[in-house]
Every structure is written in C-alpha cells, then in structure tokens.
C-alpha cells in the first residue's frame, strides 16, 4: 500500500511517499502565492520520485504545516508539532528532543520513550529564532543564505548581537558592517544570537538526549554548532533530510490511520 504526507510550510512545500516500508522524499518546492498549487507541486515531485503516476494511487494522505487546511487532496490534517515528532521518532527511536527551526517559526518538542509528545514550545509571533531572521540578515550582509551556512566554523572573535528583534538586530548588524567587523565574526554572532534564543525555547519544553534538528535551518552548520554549545549536548544528525521530517511524520501517520481504519472495519 502507498501513503502520502505533505508539509505545506510558510516558506516551502515538502512531500513524502511511503510504499510499504520504503520512504521516498520529494523535492523542496518554494511556496507560491497559492497554497493549493504549492501542495500539488510538492506532492507531484514526491510521486515522480516514487515512480507513481497518479495521486489517486495513494491509499491515504495526511497534510501538515501552516497550509495543512489548504491541501484539498488530503484525507485529514495533523499539526506539524505531532508530525515532526512522529517523523523523527520513526527514523531514530532514541530521539527525546526535536528542535524544528522553520521558515517562520521555531518549536521544541519533548518526547517520551514511546514517541508520545510530553510537551512543546513554540515561538510567539516573532521572527527571532526562525529562518526568516537569517533571510533578513543575509540580505543585509549581501552574502545570501548560502553564505551564512558556509561560515560553519565558529569565529573566536564573534561579534555580540544583543537584539533578538529582527528589525533592531538588522540595524545592529548594519553598524557592525559599517565598522568593518569581519564577515565571519558577524555571521557567528548572528548564529550565536539565534542559538541563544532557540535554546531558551528548548529548555522550556525540556531538553533530553538524543537531540535532533528538523526544518530548513538544519543546513546552517554554524547555527547547529552554536546551539549544541548553548544546550551542552551533541546534536545528532537524522539519517534523512531533516527538512522533510514534517512530511515524513504525516506519511507515517497516514499509514497508521489507514491501518486503524482497516482494523475498525
């Protein structure tokens, strides 16, 4: 049997197909102004990679992410908090803390040894500690997101970014650039600032090892390194692209839901 999971996030759309026990990832699709269109593009990519000709071949589909209600072809929707937990635990049952740093939000989820959610914390209406913060800073620095991600090594002379607010931090960074502070120092300062913010959130949810990162910001090695230092733990790597954790969790839920419905008949 085949199952689909789709994570329609604020910045990107991702889909996963599960054929029996085999996991097939789609592509990262940039969000379009129409969520329904993004959803179809993301799912079509996963279907193509799985060699499935038609959406109708999927037995059950679960949607998640901010656009989860806009996925017309989904059988049901489940919150991204539950889906990130489900996906990460499915791949790595030793996971007890998931930190999802997405395009416009950030969440920390604490799990028990059965994969159940013990608690979660999510950022409040603010871009601090999210991918959007990095987008704004990359624009100011003129280095692109790739430039921030490439500065993986922590500079020992990192600049101190004291503002958590994106708007004020932007002004602070402009000052640093104008004062000829070297780019690696500024980037490391940004990563440390975001790591500090995210680690507070994670501590509120409760941090226990193993700790993994999901969401698009996993690409930023400097951030992951700074976050590990803040939390005093080694951040483990998920065996599949962490940006697909929400979609994978949705697909695993789809499989479980379909099985439960079959059993109920």
């Amino acid at each position: 049997m085949t199952f689909g999971g789709i994570d329609l996030g604020s910045t990107t759309g991702k889909a996963v197909v599960i054929i029996d026990d085999k996991i097939i990832l789609g592509d990262i699709v940039m969000a379009t102004p129409k969520p329904a269109v993004t959803a179809r593009m993301a799912m079509d990519a996963a279907l193509k990679n799985a060699g499935i000709a038609s959406l109708q071949s999927l037995d059950y589909i679960v949607s998640t992410g901010y656009g989860r209600l806009k996925v017309e072809f989904a059988n049901e929707n489940i919150s991204e908090i539950s889906c990130h937990a489900k996906g990460a635990f499915h791949l790595m049952p030793s996971v007890r803390t998931i930190i999802d740093i997405g395009g416009q939000d950030c969440k920390a989820i604490a799990l028990n040894d059965k994969g159940g959610t013990l608690g979660f914390e999510m950022n409040e209406r603010c871009a601090a500690g999210t991918g959007r913060f990095f987008q704004v800073m990359a624009k100011v620095l003129g280095c692109g997101l790739e430039g921030i991600g490439a500065a993986a090594n922590i500079s020992p002379t990192a600049a101190n970014i004291s503002n958590q607010c994106s708007v004020f931090a932007e002004s602070e960074i402009i000052t640093l650039v104008n004062n000829d502070v070297p780019l690696p120092d500024v980037i490391t300062g940004i990563n440390k600032s975001v790591a500090s913010r995210v680690s507070s959130l994670a501590r509120r949810a409760g941090v226990a090892e193993d700790v993994v990162i999901s969401g698009g910001c996993y690409n930023n090695e400097g951030l992951i390194s700074a976050l590990g230092q803040c939390l005093g733990v080694e951040i483990m790597k998920l065996p599949l692209n962490p940006q697909f954790m929400g979609a994978l969790g949705a697909a695993v839920f789809a499989k479980e839901k379909a099985a439960a419905k079959t059993a109920a008949k």
Binding site: Y66, I81, G116
Partner: protein, 381 residues
C-alpha cells in the same frame, strides 16, 4: 452545535456580540440609570440595591486601539486598551456612571485616563481593592464598599438599605446558582452547550437586568435539557486565565473538534462561584468576605493562589477535562506568574497544560490553532 440553537442562546449571542442592547435601552427609557464596572470583584449587588443597572465593561467590537494608544503605556495589556478605545469612539455613551477597580495597575489606569480624556461620564469612582487576601483586607474592602455606597447614594439618590442589599444578594445568588446548573450540564459526556455558547451566556449575564436574565436562564435550562445530544468529543478542555468575554479561544478549540466544558476566567467560572453567604448581619461585610476571602480571585490577588489552584484542579476533575488551556494577555504579569506556579501543580495532578499568550482581539489565529491542535492531539482520548 450551532444547529438546534435554543432561542434564548440566540438572544444571549446578540447581547454578547454588542455593547448597548435593547434591555439596557428599555431600562434607561423607564428613567433607570446604568453604571459600568470593570472587574469581577466589584459587586453588582451594590448597584442593584441602589436601583441601578450594572453593566460589565468589555471591548466587544473593537477593531484597533488607535485612540487609546495615546493614553496607555506600552506595557499595558490590550483589554483595557480596547475597552477605552471603544469608550473614546462613543460606544459607552449610554453609561450614567463608571466604577473602576484598582485590581491591577493595567485596569486602574483606565480611571486616570477616563478622567483626563474628553469623556463626560457623569459619575466616575475608583474603588480601591486589596492586593492580598485575608480577613484584615476584607475589612478594608468593606469600608471601600461603604464609601462607594455613599457615593452612589449621593449621585443617584435613594438610600441603599441593608434590606435592599440582602435582596440584591439573593437575586445575584440565584443568578450564580442558575449559571452553575448550566455548567453542571457540561459534565455530561455529550454536553448540550458548547464552550463558545457558554461564553455568550456568561457575558450576557453581565449586560442585562438580573430579573430578566434569571428568567432567561430558567428557559435556557429547560431548552438545553431537550436539546439533542451532540457526539462525543476527542478532547474535553478547560480554559483558565484572564478576561474570557471573547469566545475566540473556545472557537479555535471547537473548530478543531474538541470542546471546552468548563473554565476559570473572569467573565466565566469565577463569576458564578458559589454565592455570598446569607447569614444576616452586615451585608457589606458578607459581600467583602465573599469577594476577598471566599471566591477564587483573579491572579492579581496575593495570598490566594492555593484557593485558586484548588478550585481549578477541582473543576478540572469534576468536569473530567483532558487538559487545560491557559490564556494570558500579553503584558499580564499576574497571570504569567500564576501559570509559572500552576505548571508544576497541574503536572503533579496529572492535568496537561498549554499556556498561550494572546491579545484581546485574537491575532495570529493560524499560530494559535497549530498549538491548540497539537495540544488536542497530545491529550485526546
């Protein structure tokens, strides 16, 4: 649950969805005077005994705080801000008087701002309230109530006798008992009334003459007992926090298929708590004891946490809730501190808690819905 909506609920929804209402207009048409009041600890009994119609202040219908922002500091929460904005827009021009309590500083500033604004409400009174529970403070509050009583007599005429006060206490106790009876129906596995509908019931109670409201509640009770049962819900939740006159959080929960079966909010569960003891003697002392010692107060009251936490946990168990959503208005330190303490106490009691910071006018509904949905998925049966 909107199907088969009893007629009384339709009326309550209309009353709760607006500020001035036909019953207020009718009361005024007969020469009656309407006095607004802000917090649950300001006793309606005193106004009723003075022949006045008490009207609980709220910011219903407010779209922004453009006018009020001129008066309030940035750390003032959004509830008084929206209420005051509505006042500046003329939405409370029907008031003949206003009583503001010094419950918390955020609310207290309404008094100062009202005085300094162009608003010309004929009677404006600041009711000082204790910030700590206990017998000594109930005595102080009794004196403050006596001061308010004299002020009302001086402004609106007529003597507020002890007998009139006891009669008002009887009337308001009947209201509380009837409200409790409706709450009790929600203990059923298939509650006949949703959390959103219950918000309208409670808000209407603070906007109508009590005799009319009590008659409506009796009719509602009869109608609810005949209402077809809704299906079972995946999760039964309780709402805890400030205000509670805005049904948006219940709406989010209930859109997601769960149901709010009880609450500990300022317009809701805390308003109908038991009743003023009718033991004879000084009625103001009985009211002060009820407000300052017996009734679980808003989180701003020091020395009352144990009473509050006990009432919350007892209600959670009584109504068999699967979890509690704590809602705190941005900048409200009182509830921020309360949830900090409740977090561990509820954990020990085995009751899951989700704390959400929100604004009076619901914003970021998508974000809120994500958290509420995840919470429901975590606690669902």
């Amino acid at each position: 649950m909107a199907e088969n909506q009893p007629l009384v609920l339709e009326k309550f929804s209309r009353i709760a969805g607006s500020l001035a209402n036909p019953s207020v207009a009718a009361f005024k048409g007969q020469g009656g005077k309407v006095v607004g009041y802000f917090c649950a600890f300001i006793p309606e009994e005193l106004f009723i005994a003075a022949g006045l119609l008490p009207f609980r202040m709220r910011g219903t219908g407010s779209e922004n705080t453009e006018r009020a922002d001129e008066y309030f500091t940035s750390w003032n929460c959004s509830f008084p801000r929206h209420c005051f904005n509505q006042a500046l827009l003329g939405k409370f021009d029907f008031l003949d008087g206003l009583v503001v309590g010094s419950g918390c500083d955020a609310m207290r500033y309404i008094y100062d701002n009202w005085k300094q604004s162009p608003l010309k409400t004929p009677f404006l009174h600041l009711l000082n309230s204790p910030h700590v529970s206990g017998k000594a403070m109930a005595g102080y509050y009794k004196d403050e109530l006596a001061r308010l009583k004299s002020a009302l007599e001086g402004r609106f005429g007529g003597k507020v006798t002890d007998q009139k006060l006891w009669d008002a206490i009887t009337l308001c106790n009947e209201t509380r008992a009837l409200q409790q009876s409706i709450y009790d129906l929600r203990k059923s596995p298939t509650p006949p009334i949703s959390g959103s509908e219950m918000v309208a019931v409670m808000v209407a109670g603070a906007s109508l003459p009590k005799e009319e409201y009590n008659a409506d509640l009796k009719a509602l009770l009869a109608e609810l007992k005949q209402r077809p049962a809704a299906g079972k819900y995946p999760a039964r939740l309780m709402l805890v926090g400030s205000c509670g006159d805005d049904a948006s959080m219940c709406g989010i929960v209930e859109e997601l298929g769960a149901v709010v079966v009880t609450d500990h909010t300022c317009f809701g569960g805390r308003m109908k708590y038991k009743g003023v003891a009718q033991t004879g003697g000084d009625p103001l002392e009985a009211i002060a004891n009820y407000q300052i010692i017996e009734r679980p107060f808003c989180a701003k009251m020091g020395g009352a946490h144990a009473l509050r936490a006990g009432a919350i946990i007892a209600a959670a168990r009584d109504f068999k809730v699967d979890g509690i959503i704590g809602q705190r208005l941005g900048c409200c330190d009182a509830w921020g501190g309360e949830f900090f303490m409740l977090r561990d106490e509820l954990k020990d009691a085995g009751i899951p808690l989700l704390v959400i910071e929100k604004e009076y006018i619901s914003d970021s509904e998508g974000q809120l819905a994500t958290r509420v949905q995840a919470f429901i998925e975590t606690v669902r049966r």
